[in-house]
């Protein structure tokens, strides 16, 4: 049986979920990551939130655009490796100057046990910023909620594409010990 949200409290997901609710976000799209477990569980358990599992991350950019046109606010949750899949998709909210909000859990940083994660993990900020995405990064649990609030405001008040990166220092590292 899967764990309840309370059992997997990670010190930041509840606050992000509460802020997302407060911001009127009712659509959450994702290709999941272990670091997103608690947040996605909170969304699944909420009948007023719709969680959509994607086949690839860029679909979440297209869905956010269609949702915005129809009057609904969306959040795309992804692992850092999925940011590269979004590059050309980011031309859509940039062209339309409409909100696009992303929450990215990082891999390929300090303590990473899988060297295959370094190339994309290390390029996230450069790639996003090249596409005009406003990036901010939470280095501690305490920083996550206030920065999410800023990213959410930039997206929905100012029509920006904004991404909050959550450092591997916050979410921990995956063990590959054999």
């Amino acid at each position: 049986m899967s764990q309840t949200a309370a059992q997997i409290d990670d010190g930041w997901s509840r606050q992000v979920y509460a802020l997302a609710r407060l911001a009127g976000i009712t659509l959450v799209t994702t290709v999941p990551d272990a670091g997103l477990t608690a947040l996605l569980r909170l969304c699944v358990d909420d009948d007023d939130m719709r969680l959509v599992t994607l086949s690839t991350e860029e679909e979440g950019i297209g869905m956010a655009y269609g949702a915005w046109l129809g009057g609904t606010r969306a959040l795309l949750c992804l692992q850092s490796s999925g940011t590269g899949n979004c590059i050309n998709a980011l031309a859509l909210p940039a062209f339309a100057q409409c909100p696009c909000l992303m929450l990215v859990t990082m891999r390929g940083q300090e303590g990473e046990g899988n060297p295959a994660q370094f190339p994309m993990g290390g390029a996230v900020r450069a790639v996003f910023e090249a596409m005009g995405v406003v990036c901010m990064e939470a280095m501690t649990k305490e920083e996550v909620a206030p920065l999410f609030g800023q990213a959410e405001q930039l997206a929905f008040n100012d029509g920006k594409t904004a991404a909050l990166l959550i450092s591997q220092q916050v979410i921990g590292t995956k063990s590959f010990v054999k």
């Binding site: 599992t53 860029e58 950019i61 869905m63 269609g66 009057g71 050309n88 859509l92 062209f95 339309a96």
Partner: protein, 195 residues
Amino acid sequence: MMTRDRSALKRREVLANVLAARGDALVVSGLGTSTYDLFAMSPAAENVYFWNAMGLTVPAGLGLAIAQPGRRVLVVTGDGEMMMGIGSLCVIAAQAPANLSILVLDNEEFEETGGQAGLTAGAPDIAGIALGSGFTSAMVARDAGDVGKLASFLLQQPGPALAVAKVGPSTDEPVYPSMDGPELVRRFRAAVPGD
């Protein structure tokens, strides 16, 4: 050079036939000829015209269908654009939006870039992929009789539904909607109240 048998169906006639019955449907068109044809045949404020982001027309249709459950959403796109986002058919089937339909104008080539053969010129079958993804229904229109069935198939019955219309080369001059992205968004949101 290998020549292909070309469909006698004209893409704008297929589209006009379907959109004559659009009612209050919201229509999303894929970049390139689909956008030009939608603007030519049914230039309503309730249209979303894509100019970029190939592969995202169908996901945008899904986002819009979720946001506007009381209205039919029809995505009109080409075979190349559909292939680039083909996994989205599985995302849609998993969500099962009853108000979402897709019309693929399948000319089996990349007409805008010089007529290079598309994947559907060979074995790949978009209607078959839709059924395998879990779509409620899918059909292929190959002649005028089939085209007559498209409007009710796409706009009346519960979705998600996908129709492929095998069409010939474009013979019409392109006409272009606004290329002002924010203006396109403002116009649509003004015409379509949030749910």
